[in-house]
Point group: C2
Chain length 451, copies 2
């Protein structure tokens, strides 16, 4: 291969045909979810009102690999394998001896990694006779992905979009509508959970989840779909990391020094990092796994590892996770996908076991990295993804300082073409950083239930 | 290969390493450009104030293939080969026996085919010592592409954006700014050509070209770059059609029945179609080549084949082309890239020789096809590209009627993620069609000079 190769792809016979379940390889089992009433471990039946049984069985599976259905592979083949780029222009600009590899999920129909789980979720729901799906969306990427998958399989899609995001980027709403979805601003007047807040409230993922759950639960033809946090969602995203491992090998690289992903609910990070975690656990590689979050919603770096609800209305099971408290409402930053009060239980467990790291960054540093990346590599990153790039930049500059030929893998979870107004504000110097205050953190954590 | 394959790509050793110059294969030579003062054939020296000599030599070249510089290939490799998709979901939705192949240029850094020529144009300018480039942009795709290419090569970029487009989609302007360009609304107050019009005028490509040319011409460190129309621009785009030929062969197809592209200035259409025209001229294939334009700017279908200026201020050479008159200002439709008063001289010549066809479509039919395509294939097309899709839909439905297993190739020149407000208006039923009236046509043509 040429020394100047920049894109690494895979042959058709290298297609990833199974999702990877990290639970099978973890040294200790993750704590179970608890029923919100009895506080006893929740069983598959407790989840049945919300999810089809195929997804529930994936949620509780101990199997290492779960076969991807042919119908799902058919859709994956439209945009997978996603490219792995060697960011040569950016490396030059940074003057770093590090080799930076970028796994880019923005090539998917909805422009982000979310399609990887939207497609199987809609597929399994459709297979079980469901005709309507409800969901929440923060930045809008998940709603877009579910809208597209629903259009493909002929399922009605209804989305509660977090108010701050709904107001800031009407283009996201329109894109969901182009794909045929019905979109509500959350908090809406359509649910008890929504009506508990004033109509002009900026909203939160916790509120939007409560609304979507409230609407789906009583309708026998409807189910709810979640874009992150749950085990089965993380599972579906592992196509990302599995492909990256194969692509890195084609680039002639061994185990990378560090793998970086942004983390809101945790599925993007897990999808990239868990296959590398397997390499650590099974083959003893030394790769560092780093999750990046915003300082305004520092779940992993300042939250507590406790049982908490997944939503604001306390209707979901209790999950053991890093949490800022289920009624925490972060300031409306532009990386709307990184504003969840909790973190995927699996990612939380892995962090708690000391198998990964987490770092919180200010949004101005992230946009700065995003603009630099756009000007060198030609891709405008989603504000969420710019968090991962900012950390990669730190690692690359540290390598420059130390003279190390470090290998950095960074997940670029999506493009920011529908978040361009955020870049406008950044370029105009109008973005502020709003780190979570101690008092706000204490107040929010006070709402976490005793278990 | 699988019967279900949807994406066709190429191996590294199948890389396109030369641009194809259709002039070498045409049965009759295209008429020369004329000097605007002397009305004599314009020589390379007449173009020297605007373009570097490498590009001028390509403009007048008779060579069949022109080698692509390694520095340009390096950038192409970031996004080329662009994918050829078999649009299986759309075929099913249409119930057509036709096989529809979509060549998708939206994977490029700027989201359209324009990067294919922006990169070599900036490269040759930089090589000749130029440090500043000026240009016009209609829909914004060309300005975005040039801004990116300038960022890569460290050249200052200044863009005059057609007023109607500047007002309708601020996101496009911001994207150019993210890539480091300075953007002006045209008509601006910075040039004589701009000051000839009221400040709130919707603008036109003709006016914006005049402005960019006026600023570049007197500055020895500056040149002007054009995003379509000229021979060298069409030449650079032929990587599209050359790749498509190889990809179709991988799909097991022979010569397609029809190749369809939208045409504004003509470079997108030519880039896809000219390599297929070579197959017709040299190997006698029967492929129909169809250019699609809007009814509001029907250059090929209702313009006259005459010598006319490329810009409103009459500063460019005279080109023999289909024209609606250089002072024609089309209604501000959403497909801003299809609002040029003229058509590439090479495309005009090929149409006049009877080697291709042209059709004009209303914008509502185009957006309808665009939404249908998004819901089935997951890609929101640029409003320009939706014109080609609408014609492909007509061909596919005709095949359904006749029961023919037609092979349709359609160029999807870019995505419409920054034109999403146009889709919003379409979904709300607010788009009107504004075909050019007979009286407006007559008035516009009265301005074409006698040569």
């Amino acid at each position: 291969m040429s020394d100047e190769q920049v894109v690494y792809t895979l042959e058709p016979d290298e297609e990833i045909k199974a999702w990877y379940n990290v639970v099978a390889d973890l040294p200790t089992p993750p704590p179970p979810a608890l029923h919100p009433g009895t506080k006893q471990p929740a069983g598959p039946d407790d989840l049945a009102p919300l999810f089809p049984m195929d997804l529930i069985m994936q949620e509780v599976s101990q199997e290492r690999y779960i076969e991807i259905p042919e119908e799902v592979l058919d859709v994956y083949r439209q945009y997978r394998p996603s490219p792995l780029y060697r960011a040569r222009n950016w490396e030059k600009k940074l003057g770093t001896p590090a080799r930076i590899y970028v796994k880019y999920e923005g090539v998917s129909p909805a422009g982000s990694h979310k399609v990887n789980t939207a497609v199987p979720q809609v597929y399994y729901n459709k297979k079980s006779g469901i005709t309507r799906l409800t969901t929440e969306t923060g930045a809008g990427q998940w709603g877009t992905a579910l809208a597209y998958a629903c259009a493909l399989f002929g399922v009605t899609c209804e989305v509660w979009q977090v108010g701050a995001s709904f107001d800031a980027k009407p283009q996201r709403r329109v894109l969901m509508e182009v794909f045929g979805a019905k979109v509500h601003r959350s908090p809406s007047r359509l649910t008890n959970a929504g009506r508990a807040f004033p109509e002009d409230h900026p909203g939160s993922l916790g509120i939007a989840i409560s609304e979507a759950v409230e609407v789906a639960a009583p309708d026998p033809g409807a189910k709810y779909a979640l874009g992150s946090v749950l085990n089965h969602v993380l599972l579906h995203q592992t196509v990302i990391g599995q492909e990256t491992l194969l692509q890195l090998a084609k680039a002639g690289e061994g185990a990378p020094d560090v793998v970086i992903g942004c983390a809101g609910g945790g599925s993007n990070f897990a999808g990239l990092a868990f296959p590398f975690l397997r390499e650590k656990l099974v083959h003893g590689t030394k790769t560092r796994l780093v999750a990046v979050e915003p300082t305004s919603c520092p779940t992993l770096t300042r939250g507590e590892y406790r049982y908490d609800f997944g939503d604001t209305a306390c209707t979901t099971p209790l999950f053991k996770m890093y949490t800022l408290g289920h009624d925490f409402v972060p300031s409306p930053i532009h990386a709307g996908g990184l504003r969840y009060h909790g973190m995927a239980p699996l990612v939380s467990h892995v962090l708690h076991e000391g198998l990964m790291e987490a770092v919180a960054l200010h949004q101005n540093e992230c946009f700065e990295a995003g603009v630099e990346f756009a000007r060198t590599q030609g891709i405008v990153p989603a504000p969420e993804s710019s968090h991962a790039l900012a950390q990669a930049r730190r690692e690359a500059l540290a390598a420059k300082e130390s003279g190390e030929e470090k290998v950095i893998v960074v997940g670029l979870s999506g493009h920011g073409l529908l978040e361009i107004s955020a870049y406008e504000q950044f370029l105009a110097g109008k973005l502020t950083d709003d780190p979570l205050s101690e008092s706000a953190l204490t107040a929010a954590l006070a709402g976490v239930p005793e278990v």
